[in-house]
């Protein structure tokens, strides 16, 4: 049996009408789909806000139930250096979904070859509701600059055959020409009330009552990520079936590990400790936790534990090294530089306090 999140009967909406929140947005999308003049779109918002769900609903609105017959293909591209790149493609008769960042630095190649190929063939199915196909590009914010440039002209030239829907977490990494060619759709994270409603709905469908305290706790813990909230709900339900009494929400493994790193950082400052932290950071990185998430989680935890005077500085440097992480190539260097920076700041402040304890 699937998890709650992934079952239509419990939660997952399939049509624009059944979406749980942002009804205004849903209305507008519905109107757009009906107009016959469907633009390129860019959906952006934090993860777990419902971007993909919304895109699927739009597709269904456009083409009918046919888009839900998905199949997965794997395409092999040859890089200029004759390396084989495997790209997974999810497609129905009416749309195709790609994640170019799978190809790493060769994402431009994927965009060029695949998009052109799709764009140059017309819709074959005469009974299709629309004359165009839709291409969904996932993780658009990790597209390289070259790939984005490759997208520019394609978007205009093949407008008659194809619409592009980009899906990203933030628009900051997208170049302006792309943004200007798209209709921007911000899918904000649901607010607490909306999350509560959804949680209650899921509970009702699953056949149990959600005590308000438990609901609040989940909402607080999930930080605006609805997917996470529902997953927590289910985990809690498994843990303590009646959902009453004091609840402790089990944190995911990596989060606990990040907290350990933060505790190490605060409890001692020495070269040996840096090496220890480095080993732990390496482990997190190699187990596919994105460096930004690591830095964010650790920094938030460290800030909780240190003196008021340091908080601003620590966050400042976290932001500073986060940017460097994105521009640089070896993430661990910047993470470690931040760790050492925090330790140094901590020690300096500590020493100041020791010298003039009554300041």
């Amino acid at each position: 049996m699937s998890l709650f999140v992934d079952q239509e009967s419990y939660f997952r909406p399939r049509t624009l009408d059944t979406l749980h929140y942002h009804h205004g947005l849903s209305e507008r999308l519905k109107a757009l789909a009906a107009s016959g003049d469907f633009p390129h779109m860019l959906f952006y918002g934090p993860s777990g806000a419902g971007k993909k769900t919304r895109i699927t609903c739009v597709l269904r609105q456009l083409f009918g139930a046919g888009v839900e017959k998905l199949k997965i293909d794997q395409r092999v591209f040859l890089s200029p250096s004759k390396r084989k790149l495997e790209i997974n493609i999810v497609q129905s008769n009416y749309h195709i979904e790609i994640t170019p960042s799978e190809a790493g630095s060769y994402d431009r190649l994927v965009i060029q070859e695949l998009l052109k190929e799709i764009a140059q063939t017309q819709q074959v199915d005469l009974s299709a509701k629309q004359r165009f196909k839709v291409v969904i590009i996932n993780e658009a914010d990790s597209l390289s600059r070259d790939a984005q440039a490759a997208l520019r002209r394609t978007m205009e030239k093949y407008m008659s055959n194809m619409r592009i829907i980009l899906c990203a977490n933030s628009t900051s990494r997208l170049i302006a020409p792309i943004k200007s060619r798209c209709l921007l759709m911000r899918v904000a994270a649901p607010n607490e009330e909306e999350m509560m409603t959804v949680l209650k709905y899921v509970a009702k469908r699953a056949g149990f009552d959600l005590p308000p305290e438990a609901g609040e706790k989940i909402v607080e813990d999930s930080n605006g990520n609805l997917r996470k909230a529902i997953l927590i709900l289910e985990a809690l339900k498994m843990q303590t079936p009646d959902l009453n009494g004091p609840l402790s929400i089990a944190k995911p493994d990596w989060e606990v590990y990040c907290y350990k790193v933060a505790d190490l950082l605060v409890s001692e400052q020495s070269p040996a400790r840096v090496m220890e932290v480095r080993a732990k950071l390496y482990e997190l990185l190699s187990h596919c936790i994105p460096p930004t998430i690591i830095l964010k989680t650790v920094a938030e935890r460290v800030v909780e534990k240190v003196d008021e005077a340091l908080k601003a500085d620590i966050m400042h440097w976290a932001a500073f090294y986060e940017v460097r992480m994105r521009t640089g190539s070896k993430k661990i260097y910047h993470l470690e530089a931040w760790v050492v920076k925090v330790m140094s700041l901590y020690k300096v402040l500590f020493r100041l306090l020791m010298q003039n304890p009554f300041d």
Partner: protein, 856 residues
């Protein structure tokens, strides 16, 4: 950030001013001397160029000023005395009279420590005070770090220290280690690394190694301070004054005697050769290169590797008997079971010579094949008619000599020179050679430089390995001295030693160097020898480990070090991809020398600040690296990368402590392993994501961060809690998300902390694991798609056949129609045989998958 950095520097300066002289000088030199090193370099280089012309006239005994500066500036490695002279030269802006520098030198010779301390602050004041006075600046720079050059070298007798053996330990205040060793050698001392009972003096500096001090106590060796050492040079009378002890004297005389004898021998040999040349039988030795003319003629003349040469000779000697016994009797050294020998070692130490000589002495006719011959498989197999004995002897009679001057016998010996040079052109050559060795009836001697080479792997089992080492300088010295004597070159022994070390014991190179030198000069003094050795220097490639321990070690950045910024950057350029990784891995493992005078919490704080600067510099370095390896490839930024990634961090944190074997031993960069692990797990996670895609909309990182923790209680925890009974349930969940057994493994592998894969797998009983695997394999599962690589090959096989001839195809069509049934039968047979359809399971899996797709 900039502001903060400068603050730190300032505060350092303030503090370092308080401990008396040494530290102050460091900070002064660091802050004042560093920014503009180029100026002096250009200047002094120019001076050196000018003075090059003066080199023609031999410098007479350091007396007048002209020759002094000439010889000193010639190699940029300026000696203390002339530095002083230059300093005074530029500060007074007058042509320096020899007397001024001399008198100063004289004064300093007897200088007491108190005098030194008054000398130093002067130099320090010069730097920051007159900031824009270029002359003063240059003077301050030339005065160098710490008390560098504060002491002059006394003009002692050239063999002042002859016959002494000395050990240096710790850091001297006015010379770097290399300079001091250089100095001792210049005056004829023998410098060894470890003190022993034979050591005459130990020169003690600051921070001497404890083991050396223990050895000094144990053997009761006399110790010298820096001043006493200089004094010794100035006052001790060398051999010429007859105050040598008898033993050394006798030894020297005996050596001299032997050299003369050897030279006479050569003379004699040459004379007979010349006589032969006149009768037209041989080549006049005068026409030959020195390396040929003075090549060893008997085993005694081969320098070093005596035991190896002996082994080779006995092996050849025993060849016929071991051939008779079918290589069953190992003999004394165990060599006689081998039909071939592999000699390995660095170039120029006499491998080929030894092989030829041994063969000749044992009566074999050497057949040599080297890299200039094609040695492909075919040629080795067919071209070498070596199983036959030579017919030469039969035709010409036993007393004949062949073109090489070797008596022709019916015994031949194959010398395969430069085996590791069998390269692309000699495809299969090594294999064929190996096959040849296995059945050879004549001895085969293979010679190579690098034993570890991948190419030589096949030879490992079939050949006896005979490694040749670089001979010690002593064992070459007398030979070279006799050559020099014979050629009437006047070269002292310590200069010869210098040449030998410079050439890394490459005898051939030393002889070549001398023969070139002979063209223009008849004598060579210490500095000329040094220059010559440097000119012919072979650049030794250091391993990243060596580079890291060097850079992070206490000497490269120490105040007396003479390495320029460029030298330090060169370490990076030795291996620009690995060195930064090594530095990043190991930069926190030292006891930084900069903190030597600090204690307690102050030290801890300062250390963290240094670390912070180093780490942020490494972070800068990565940004530069991204530009270099990015789409635009700014390779021009590599020097900047060298500074950011390597030089700055090491300059901040250098110190002792990071050595082999210790608790903080240097390690290979983890980054490489971790990065490839990250890549691997990332790919596997991608596989999991795309399989789950039909159910789940999240991307890779969402899967990792939310779904894997959420799936854990469904597909892994039951196995821990309930054991084998939960297997059905788990498989049900997995099928729901189209997860395969491999994906299950991936999910386990992706856990961290308490859910680390090894911790989790330990908790699941083996029986449960096997039950899961067996159950999973025995049932059918929905799979969302086939990987492209699994399917891609079949059509290629069809297309790969010979191109169909269209005209015949028409005829074929008719025939095929007739035998339609037959072909169909064949097809079914083929399916059974076909390797692609061997595993029937994927096919079964595919069918339900399609059904599900339709329904879902």
């Amino acid at each position: 950030m900039k502001r903060k950095k400068s603050n730190i520097i300032d505060s350092e300066n303030e503090e370092e001013n308080s401990p008396p002289k040494k530290k102050a000088a460091i900070s002064a030199s660091k802050s004042s001397a560093k920014p503009r090193p180029l100026v002096t370099k250009v200047k002094s280089k120019k001076a050196a160029e000018d003075d090059d012309y003066d080199m023609e006239s031999p410098p007479d005994d350091n007396e007048d000023d002209d020759s002094e500066s000439a010889e000193d500036e010639d190699d940029f490695d300026i000696k203390p005395k002339s530095r002083k002279a230059l300093a005074s030269k530029s500060s007074t802006k007058k042509a320096p009279a020899a007397s001024t520098s001399k008198s100063k030198a004289g004064k300093e010779e007897t200088a007491t420590p108190s005098k030194k301390s008054t000398d130093d602050p002067k130099g320090q004041l010069k730097g920051p005070a007159k900031k824009f006075d270029w002359a003063a600046k240059k003077a301050a720079q030339l005065a160098g770090p710490v008390a560098h050059g504060s002491k002059a070298v006394p003009a002692g007798a050239l063999d002042a220290l002859a016959g002494l053996s000395m050990v240096f330990t710790g850091e001297l205040s006015s010379f770097s280690r290399e300079e001091a060793i250089d100095l001792a050698k210049r005056f004829g001392a023998r410098v060894v690394l470890q003190p022993s009972s034979k050591t005459d003096f130990v020169v003690l500096g600051d921070n001497a190694g404890p083991s050396k001090i223990a050895a000094i106590k144990k053997h009761g060796i006399k110790t010298l301070s820096e001043d006493e050492f200089l004094n010794l040079i100035g006052t001790r009378k060398g051999l010429g004054n007859g105050k040598m002890d008898e033993k050394t004297k006798k030894k020297m005389e005996k050596e001299q005697e032997e050299i003369k004898k050897a030279a006479k021998e050569m003379e004699k040999r040459e004379r007979t050769d010349r006589a032969a040349a006149q009768s037209g039988k041989a080549i006049d030795p005068k026409m030959q290169l020195w390396t040929v003319r003075y090549a060893p003629q008997n085993l005694k003349e081969i320098c070093g590797n005596k035991s190896q040469v002996e082994k080779l000779q006995t092996w050849l000697h025993d060849w016929s008997s071991s051939l008779k016994s079918g290589f069953k009797k190992p003999g004394k050294s165990g060599m006689n079971v081998y039909r071939a020998v592999l000699i390995t070692g660095p170039p120029g130490i006499g491998k080929t010579t030894a092989a030829h000589l041994c063969a000749k002495l044992e009566g074999f006719t050497p057949i040599e094949l080297n890299a200039s011959d094609a040695r492909s498989k075919k040629l080795v197999e067919n071209g070498m008619n070596i199983n036959n004995t030579s017919l030469d002897g039969f035709l010409k009679g036993p007393s004949e000599l062949n073109s090489m001057g070797v008596a022709i016998t019916d015994k031949s010996c194959l010398i395969m020179d430069e085996v590791d040079g069998m390269s692309a052109g000699d495809r299969g050559g090594v294999g064929a050679l190996n096959a040849l060795i296995k059945k050879s009836k004549i001895p085969i001697i293979c010679i190579a430089n690098d034993r570890q080479a991948q190419k030589l792997k096949p030879l490992m089992g079939t050949t006896f390995n005979l490694p040749f080492q670089r001979p010690q300088a002593q064992s070459i010295r007398s030979r070279i001295l006799s050559i020099a004597f014979k050629e009437k070159l006047k070269i002292p022994a310590n200069v010869i030693d210098q040449l030998i070390t410079g050439a890394q014991s490459d005898i051939r190179q030393v002889v070549n160097m001398l023969s070139t030198w002979k063209l223009s000069n008849d004598t060579m003094d210490f500095d000329e020898g040094k220059a010559l050795a440097k000119m012919n220097q072979k650049y030794s490639i250091l391993s990243p480990f060596e580079i890291t321990s060097k850079l992070l070690g206490p000497y490269v950045y120490s105040a007396t070090s003479r390495e320029t910024l460029n030298d330090k950057m060169d370490y990076y350029f030795q291996d620009h991809s690995f060195v930064p990784l090594f530095i990043q891995e190991n930069y926190l493992k030292t006891q930084p020398s900069r903190l030597r005078n600090l204690e307690g919490p102050e030290k801890v704080m300062k250390e963290l600040q240094l670390m912070d600067r180093a780490a942020s510099s490494i972070s800068d370095g990565d940004l530069v690296d991204a530009l270099i390896h990015g789409p635009e490839q700014h390779w021009g930024l590599m020097p900047l990368h060298a500074i950011c990634s390597t030089v700055t961090p090491t300059s901040l944190l250098y110190g002792s402590g990071s050595s082999y074997g210790g608790p903080n031993a240097m390690t290979f960069p983890q980054w490489l392993g971790q990065n490839s692990k990250q890549g691997k797990l990332g790919r596997q996670l991608g596989d999991v994501q795309i399989r789950m895609r039909l159910k789940v909309s999240g991307d890779k990182s969402e899967i990792r961060q939310s779904y894997i923790p959420a799936l854990f209680p469904h597909i892994i925890k039951p196995l821990i809690d309930e054991g084998a009974s939960a297997v059905d349930d788990v498989i049900g969940h997995m099928d729901e998300y189209y997860l395969s057994k491999e994906d299950w493994d991936t999910i386990v592998e992706l856990g961290v902390d308490e859910k680390r894969d090894d911790a989790v797998l330990k908790k699941i009983p083996t029986a449960t694991k096997t039950a899961l695997t067996r159950k999973y394999n025995s049932t059918d599962h929905p799979i969302p798609f086939h990987k492209a690589q699994d399917l891609g090959k079949a059509p290629k096989k069809l297309a790969g056949g010979p191109a169909p001839d269209l005209e015949e195809a028409y005829v074929d069509d008719v025939i095929e129609d007739a035998s339609d049934d037959d072909t169909k039968k064949d097809d079914t047979d083929d399916v059974a045989k076909d390797s692609l359809i061997k595993a029937p399971k994927p096919k079964k899996k595919a069918a339900p998958a399609k059904k599900r797709e339709k329904s879902g």
